[in-house]
């Protein structure tokens, strides 16, 4: 099923300048793999060597961080909004 994936600025150069791409998959892991299949340049930015998510990448499903859902196994419904966001220093830092 098709979902929309919002890309952060630093990944856009590896995705033909697109801000948002469509990807297929029933889980977050499958969706991320489909993004990598379409845009191989994003691979090292999204995936850790162990196959998990890069530690400085947060993936949100409808604004919920998937690390606290079921991680890459989190199921996604058609039409879900996924965003990939780099981890940055924030807050009243």
């Amino acid at each position: 099923m098709s979902v929309s994936v919002r890309l952060p600025t630093i990944l856009r150069t590896h995705a033909g300048g697109l801000t948002e791409v469509s990807a297929e998959g029933g889980t977050i892991g499958e969706v991320v793999d489909d993004v990598v299949r379409q845009f191989p340049g994003t691979s090292s930015h999204l995936k850790a060597p162990d196959g998990g998510l890069h530690r400085f990448v947060n993936v949100y499903l409808d604004d919920e961080d998937v690390r606290y859902l079921k991680g890459l196994d989190t199921p996604v419904d058609a039409g879900a909004k996924i965003s990939i966001v780099p981890a940055v220093a924030g807050g009243s830092g």
Binding site: V57, D65, P86, G90, G91, S92, G93
Partner: protein, 315 residues
């Protein structure tokens, strides 16, 4: 009540107030912990005081010492007040896109401000502060993102206060910045009752920070990793600026004039409440609304304010 020796003794012991009038369900109570009542105006008074006192204990500070920190506002303001009282000089690296009141408050306390590019957000301010700290090894750089005194202030203060005032708490929700509040309060509450849920709220800053050149410039605060934050947290969600402002406005219905991150925390509590049967949610109100008046958050057109807030660091 006896007289206090110093304004710094007024830090902590903030009130918890029932704001269940904002809850979508009668069976879900929502309580607000009013950190804007701290003398420096925000929750950051706690960590700032703890970090300075820790450094004093270690003999790293003497009258006239220079203290350096990167801050988007509240920590800088808290440190500036404390440094003023204790006789140190504070230098703050401050992103250019914080609300003007934050800069003015730093000026009130006599801090020296070094601006960093707004497009780089707090990340850029931190990078600049680190470079300065390396250049000036005699300056004291508390580095709030990694300083154990930061979460400790909440483990010993904020957490026990919540437990004392509301032992029936089931959820704690607060903004995630340095992670000090969430790690300290979360650890303390979960030791008392492992069933308590810990929810983190983030602004969409990772989406707006364009200055990030490379993912390896990304940053997870050592305070978060040192406390096994990914195991301690139960939920982490983005609250968008429009929603934060809406709930900052709604807070005035119960008499609370708070900063925008408080609106985010309450928005998350309300959203969560809709999916809970019975719960007692404590939301952290990090600061008062004073420093955000210039944003028009309460009075201007909601869409306009939300648009502007997208380019502003307000956590």
């Amino acid at each position: 009540m006896p007289a206090f020796d110093s304004v710094l003794d007024l830090i902590g012991n903030t009130p918890l107030v029932d704001v269940s009038a904002l809850s979508p369900k009668a069976s879900v109570r929502i309580l607000a912990k009013l950190e804007g009542q701290n003398p420096g105006g925000s929750v950051k008074d706690r960590a700032a005081k703890a970090m300075i006192e820790e450094a004093e204990k270690e003999g790293r500070l003497e009258p006239g010492s220079i203290v350096l920190e990167s801050s988007s506002g509240n920590t800088g303001i808290a440190l500036a007040m404390i440094c003023r009282v204790r006789g140190y000089q504070l230098t703050v690296v401050l992103p250019e896109n914080v609300s003007p009141e934050r800069r003015q408050m730093l000026e009130v306390w006599g801090a020296r401000i070094i601006p960093s590019p707004g497009s780089e957000g707090s990340n850029g301010a931190l990078r600049a502060a680190r470079a300065l700290a390396e250049e000036h090894p005699d300056w004291y750089f508390p580095y709030q993102y990694a300083n154990p005194a930061n979460p400790k202030a909440h483990y010993e203060g904020t957490g026990p206060e919540i437990w004392r005032d509301c032992p029936e708490v089931t959820h704690f929700v607060a903004g995630l910045g340095t992670a000090g509040t969430l790690m300290g309060v979360g650890r303390f509450l979960k030791e008392r009752n492992p069933g308590i849920q810990l929810w983190a709220v983030e602004p969409p800053s990772g989406e707006t920070v364009d200055g990030l050149r490379n993912l390896d410039d990304g940053f997870v605060p050592p305070v978060f990793t040192d406390n096994q934050g990914d195991q301690l947290l139960d939920r982490k969600m983005i609250v968008r600026s429009r929603e934060s402002i809406e709930w900052t406005r709604r807070l005035t219905d119960v008499g609370i004039f708070a900063g925008l991150s408080a609106g985010s925390a309450v928005a998350a509590a309300v959203k969560g409440a809709a999916h809970l049967d019975e719960a007692v949610i404590v939301a952290l109100i990090a600061d008062g609304g004073w420093k955000y008046l210039s944003t028009g958050a309460w009075t201007a057109d909601l869409d306009e304010v939300a648009d502007r807030a997208g380019n502003l660091i307000y956590f």
